[in-house]
């Protein structure tokens, strides 16, 4: 878990450097959200359970099996990018082998897809759980409501994790909803709800494990509100100093989930300075190598612009499946 958090943070920081170097035209970040994501992912079965992610889920995807190389191919928009072959902006995650579904930039649409995945699992009597992540801004959308209602009606194996970092771009929590925690709405849908300190990786693991057990035993869906900190601006096209007070930004740094987990592991005698140093170095090397590989990798071919609008004949695209069922 610690390693996943370190790698995700290293990738995230590097993409900002690449952005400043002019090598990555657009980046969007998950820094500050790592504990919530890695803790939740640890409670899932990669390749069995499903994730309908959102654009801050780098650490979640890393924990489910996305490699540094996979991710950097997306940052550089190369053909080898497993999310979209460079068609989408970076961090629009998708990874078929890990059952991370393809996602758009439209927020909350994927929550409905997760409900559909869960319905199919239930109808087909498959022991699978569908997890979806959104920011707190997405909870204002109709699709979010429609999905939670549907999941509750059918007591689906569905978990919605709201990563509440207080801001939807610049709009603060108080202008987004009339409740302190969006999990308060769970009862209104007829599902379990939990508010969790999303900076605490173990608390997130516990809450998600409980939700997974509920889902797998037929107990229905769960809404988890994970309180997290957004360290960076919304994206590389935003500057949060324009709308967040200086003291608030300084206070954020005291909420670093990575530092918190490191201190915990050191205090518990599970991590030494030496072993930490080794993890850091290995992750840095992995990122370096991923950047090298992605920079050297071929760009998508302009001649492929019109491919994959519809299914292609089997001869030209091996293994192109109908839906997502294996």
């Amino acid at each position: 878990m610690y390693r996943h958090m370190v790698l995700a943070r290293a990738l995230d920081r590097r993409m900002w450097v690449l952005n400043r170097q002019g090598k990555a035209p657009f980046v969007i970040s998950g820094q500050g959200h790592e504990a919530a994501q890695v803790g939740a992912a640890a409670a899932l079965r990669p390749g069995v359970d499903w994730l309908a992610p959102y654009y801050r889920d780098l650490a979640f995807c890393v924990a489910l099996g996305m490699t540094a190389r996979d991710f950097m191919m997306g940052v550089f928009a190369r053909t080898e990018d497993p999310s979209s072959a460079g068609r989408q902006m970076p961090s629009h995650f998708g990874l078929r082998r890990a059952r991370i579904i393809t996602t758009s930039s439209v927020v909350a649409t994927q929550v409905v897809h997760a409900a559909g995945i869960a319905y199919a699992a239930k109808l087909r009597q498959l022991d699978e759980v569908a997890v979806t992540c959104v920011g707190e801004g997405s909870t204002s959308k109709g699709d979010w409501h429609e999905a939670l209602n549907f999941a509750a009606v059918h007591r689906l194996p569905f978990i919605c994790i709201v990563q509440d970092n207080d801001y939807a771009i610049s709009v603060p929590h108080r202008l987004q909803m009339g409740v302190e925690s969006v999990a308060e709405r769970a009862q209104g849908y007829g599902m379990a709800g939990a508010t969790v300190d999303g900076g605490d990786v173990l608390a997130m693991y516990d809450a998600t494990r409980e939700a997974v057990e509920r889902a797998r035993s037929g107990g229905g869906p769960t809404l988890i509100d994970a309180k997290v900190a957004r360290f960076t601006s919304h994206s590389s096209d935003d500057d949060q100093r324009r709308y967040r007070p200086q003291e608030e930004l300084e206070a954020l740094l005291r909420r670093d989930p990575l530092e918190r987990f490191r201190n915990y592991l050191v205090d518990e005698g599970l991590l030494t300075d030496d072993s930490d140093e080794r993890v850091q170095q290995e992750c840095t090397a992995e990122v370096d190598e991923a950047v090298r590989a992605a920079e050297a990798a071929p760009h998508p071919d302009a001649a492929d612009l019109e491919r994959h609008v519809f299914a292609e004949p089997p001869s030209s695209s091996e293994g192109e499946g109908r839906g997502g069922g294996d």
């Binding site: 609008v309 192109e320 499946g321």
Partner: protein, 327 residues
């Protein structure tokens, strides 16, 4: 061959495909016990149960969104939107999601769903039970748009749509449901999505249409035949993919083109057909490409005189044919 109604064609297609493949899943408002407000899904709930014939909450975006998710996890959803007029809340799920899933994942994921919706007017449906929405979706690459005009096509095209690996919008003219009768061949019927059908051969002008309007065009063609005008009537059957060759081949023969649709004129799909004929068939034309369509008012009124005035009918189409032939 037995003579059946268009909605019987729809019902037979659904029943046969559900029987053939247990992944086929019907969902929508009132599709269960009631069998749909037009009874298109009648009998399915009793035979296949609530799990596979699901009455959804009254929320169109999630009807489509849940169908997309279920398709990603191995089902073949056939979603019914009760009236095409109510499809708009699902526009985002259809256009931003279903239509782009294959493209944006570079072929890793597909979205094999069918979205059925009754459309069209002439049944005193007023502003919100009469609309034609095909142009919105025919504009979107990644969607197939199918509009049957006969019972046999309703069945054969719907069965093909259910087996299609990509999202298909399947619009059924609600006035045609019971008005239009025709033979449906016994046995397996799979009509390919794409090719248009020539419903009446002619040499003097080409009339291109779809849905119920095809039948109005045929009536008009019969009427003008007495005046010595030989009208060819093409039923597009699918707007996407569009059978451009069938249109251009006919125009090459007749040198005159009329496009007829029930949707309002401006930005209707007829504009695209007119543009194709103008650009690729210009050398064959002896007259300007002409369109017969509803006027540019927001929607179809409920009262009888204004509903009549809104709709193209055989008389209006025949008048346009005469004018075009005389040009």
């Amino acid at each position: 061959m037995p003579v059946k109604t268009l909605i019987e064609g729809v019902r037979e297609a659904l029943a046969e495909e559900m029987e053939r493949d247990e992944r086929v899943w019907v969902l929508g408002e009132d599709v269960g016990r009631k069998g749909g407000v037009f009874l298109a899904t009648e009998g399915l709930h009793g035979r296949y149960g609530e799990g596979r014939v699901l009455d959804t909450p009254l929320a169109e975006s999630s009807i489509v969104g849940v169908a997309i998710g279920a398709a990603l996890n191995g089902l073949i959803p056939v979603a019914e939107i009760q009236f095409a007029d109510f499809i708009h809340p699902a526009f985002d799920q259809i256009v931003s999601e279903a239509a782009r899933i294959r493209y944006r994942s570079n072929g890793d994921w597909g979205c094999p769903i069918v979205i059925r919706a009754p459309f069209g007017g002439g049944v005193h449906g007023g502003l919100y039970h009469s609309q034609s929405v095909e142009a919105f979706y025919a504009h979107v690459p990644g969607l197939k748009v199918v509009i049957p005009s006969t019972p046999a096509d309703a069945k054969g095209l719907l069965k093909t749509a259910i087996r299609d690996p990509d999202p298909v919008m399947f619009f059924e003219h609600k006035k045609a449901y019971r008005l239009i009768k025709g033979e449906i061949p016994d046995g397996e019927l799979l009509t390919p999505i794409g090719p248009a059908a020539v419903r009446r051969e002619g040499t003097g002008l080409t009339c291109v249409s779809w849905g119920l309007m095809v039948h109005h065009c045929l009536e008009a063609a019969e009427a003008v035949a007495a005046d010595g005008i030989s009208a060819e009537v093409i039923d597009l059957r699918t707007l996407r993919p569009l059978d451009r060759e069938a249109i251009l081949r006919s125009v090459e023969k007749t040198a005159r083109a009329l496009v007829v649709h029930e949707d309002n004129l401006t930005g209707g799909f007829g504009a695209e057909i007119a543009a194709i004929i103008a650009q690729e068939g210009f050398g064959h034309l002896d007259a300007p490409v002409t369109r017969v369509a509803a006027p540019d008012v927001p929607a179809m009124p409920f009262n009888h005189p204004q509903e009549e005035a809104f709709l193209p009918n055989p008389e209006k189409i025949a008048a346009a044919m005469r004018k075009l032939a005389a040009y």
